[in-house]
């Protein structure tokens, strides 16, 4: 135990470890906050769909040789998020089918692009594996990426706090919110933009395939022990931050993939909270 603590103290002297912890905690916190909205609106799968769109956009950005992939990933993901969040009644292709089509189509297109136009001197399967599963992405962030992630995460948290009441209304009863004079269309576009931003950031933490875990696990775990909306929001944010920090620490100590370790921590946390909920009789 003492040796492990000494090793951990040594690892914390590395700047990229400190950056990974700060960015990881903030991004997972934002993901949990937005996960509450998505889970309660029965849109949990949208996170998965958007992360695959982000992967496809990243493949295009790599082929184009962009200096910063986020320049393409962010706008493309935001546009797709807005398109998917639009409620379209009586359309031939319904919401869940739309998400599924966009999700697998983007993933396939991205992988084909990587194979046909591999980056110079790169390892295609390694790059794809890292992007999909987030094995070391959070530990290999450039200084610009760290600052961008910090600024966007703090902005998302502040926006959530400022617009908390409107988000609450839109989550539970959109028609009632519209009747109260809230511009629901504009706010839905706004929320879709924030969701896309958080998903683009979260790709660095857990990879494209595991992003849903960051959105869903904290919320459903919090719902096992909390009864109110505010309680669920706070509990899921704390749960997500603790599991992300714990997952990063365990992965650097044991040499396991970072993304998968964070998701495993979330799963164990969910099991614990489910047990607590049962004991409490909720």
């Amino acid at each position: 135990m003492h040796e492990m603590l000494d090793t951990l103290a040594y690892y914390f002297t590395f700047p990229f470890v400190r950056n990974a912890l700060i960015v990881g905690v903030l991004v997972s916190l934002c993901a949990a906050l937005l996960g509450v909205v998505l889970v309660l609106r029965r849109l949990s799968f949208i996170g998965d769909g958007l992360s695959h769109v982000a992967f496809g956009a990243m493949a295009v950005a790599t082929v184009m040789g962009l200096s910063n992939n986020m320049l393409l990933i962010l706008p493309v993901t935001i546009i797709c998020s807005i398109a998917l969040m639009q409620r379209q009644r009586n359309k031939q292709v319904q919401g869940d089918a739309k998400i599924a089509m966009l999700s697998v189509g983007s993933l396939a297109a991205g992988y084909i692009l990587f194979n046909r136009f591999p980056p110079k001197g790169g390892n295609v399967s390694g790059d794809v594996c890292t992007t999909l599963f987030g094995s070391t992405s959070i530990l290999t962030l450039s200084q610009n990426e760290v600052w961008l992630s910090l600024i966007l995460s703090i902005a998302v948290c502040l926006i959530y706090i400022v617009f908390y009441n409107i988000i609450f209304s839109l989550t539970f009863d959109e028609e009632f919110a519209a009747s109260q004079g809230i511009n629901t269309k504009a706010y839905n576009v706004f929320i879709a933009t924030i969701i896309a931003t958080v998903i683009s950031l979260a790709m660095n933490l857990v990879g494209s395939l595991l992003i849903s875990a960051l959105l869903v696990f904290p919320v459903v775990s919090a719902m096992r022990v909390c009864k109110s909306f505010r309680g669920v929001v706070i509990c899921s944010a704390v749960f997500s931050a603790v599991c992300a920090a714990g997952g990063i620490v365990i992965s650097i100590l044991l040499g396991t993939p970072v993304g998968a370790t964070i998701v495993a921590s979330d799963a164990i946390g969910f099991a614990l909270f489910s047990l607590i909920g049962r004991l409490k009789g909720i």
Binding site: Y11, F16, G65, L72, V76, I79, S135, L139, G255, V258
Partner: protein, 166 residues
């Protein structure tokens, strides 16, 4: 749908026009950061041993070793002159003009991603290179070199220690 497609296309063109970096310029730095007077990049004198190791990647977990080497390759200016210790498989590579280069590999925990660091002998070092994929341990000084305008990083070594079979 058509509107979204048109917006995406416009966006891609706009981003391509503004965000694609220009062609890489020729590196004008010294042939070796460890020997600023070097006439050629191999011209670096041997260092005194034993070294006081500042970055020991051999004692880190695979996740950390990979991340540390990645940081060294992306931000080499911060590590020039540092004493580094590495452990991993040895990999030779023959370039297009027939020159054989010598690398040590560091894998991530899944084994699908690898990073390599070129090893360059110091002046007069008579190094016997093992077979490919032999597990080796090296200690050396981190360097940034210039090969006719091409910038690259390398580890200057006096010797190679073989610690396992391939």
């Amino acid at each position: 749908m058509k509107k979204i497609f048109a917006i995406l296309c416009t966006l891609c063109i706009a981003i391509y026009a503004t965000a694609v970096p220009a062609q890489e310029e020729k590196y004008e730095g010294p042939n070796s950061m460890l020997n600023l007077a070097a006439k050629d990049y191999p011209d670096v004198p041997p260092f005194y041993e034993p070294l006081t190791i500042q970055h020991d990647l051999s004692r880190l977990s695979s996740t950390m070793a990979y991340a540390q080497l990645y940081d060294m390759l992306c931000n080499p200016e911060q590590y020039v002159g540092s004493a580094v210790k590495l452990k991993g498989p040895y990999m030779p590579y023959q370039s297009e003009d027939g020159e054989i280069m010598h690398f040590i590999l560091v894998f991530d925990m899944q084994g699908c991603c690898e990073l390599s660091l070129e090893m360059l002998p110091t002046r007069g070092a008579n190094i016997e290179y093992p077979e490919m994929n032999t597990e080796i341990e090296v200690e050396g000084l981190f360097d940034i070199c210039n090969d006719n305008g091409l910038r690259f990083v390398a580890l200057r070594i006096n010797r190679i220690n073989v610690v396992g079979q391939n």
